[in-house]
Symmetry: C2
DNA sequence: GTACTTGGTACGAAAAACCATACCAGCGGA
DNA sequence: TCCGCTGGTATGGTTTTTCGTACCAAGTAC
């Protein structure tokens, strides 16, 4: 099934079948996992370029603060979406990249970009 | 292009071409538009069933308060994603449904559900 | 010896989000 | 006459996010 599915197709597949199967919703937990001002943006930056250093990410997400970036990255790492690789050099170097689990979020961003290209002026 | 695209395909298409074309990103504004604890959930409920009355929505999103639901629906209506239809009856009846613009968000939820089915236990 | 580098941490303050509670209209039913 | 129904609004308070600023280590260049 691709992205040109109809409303009825999605409803038939996700709404009627999966949702009511055992009470486990495959959408709500994902939405909650990705909540927060920066998480989706960070993942998206890592979609575009990976790996990225802490400072590079910070520059891309310009008004972000150290604290926010650190916290968000920690949570993303905790959720297994982002991998943190630390090199013991001076000055320190830390590289962030998407895990396979994180890369699998790509179709979401693809769908978002399709919508954005249609509706964002 | 469907959802089994490779990382390189997405990168080539969204990362390299569209993003750098004119500085307008088709992803970031969408992410910001959908931010907040309830917006995505409301849209998702309306994906599953539409139209829905205010009280039905409230029941589905159980711990939500009147204020939150009202505010979120107003913003979604303001963004043109949700349509509000008011019937002047007693007791009052108001039905919410997705606009075409809102329905076009469906592929995003489809992609989310695909990811959720793979990774949510 | 001083300044500069990176990838953070710690702290408190400010802002935003969220919540609970009470209240409203106006008709139908008991 | 009083209650209950719906779809909210108003108010104020609490909790969660987010921000701003200062600071750190440990080496390198000047």
């Amino acid at each position: 099934m691709n992205q040109s599915m109809t409303y009825e197709e999605f409803q038939a597949r996700v709404g009627s079948v999966i949702l009511t199967e055992n009470g486990n919703c495959p959408v709500t937990p994902v939405i909650q996992m990705l909540q927060g001002k920066w998480k989706l943006q960070i993942i998206y930056e890592l979609c575009i370029q990976s790996p990225m250093r802490f400072g590079e990410l910070k520059k891309m997400l310009k008004p972000i603060t150290n604290t926010m970036l650190t916290n968000a990255l920690k949570e993303l790492e905790g959720d297994g979406l982002v991998h943190r690789e630390q090199y013991n050099e001076i000055p320190p170097r830390v590289e962030y990249s998407l895990t396979e689990k994180g890369r699998d979020l790509l179709p979401i961003f693809y769908a978002i970009s399709q919508w954005g290209m249609k509706y964002i002026p």
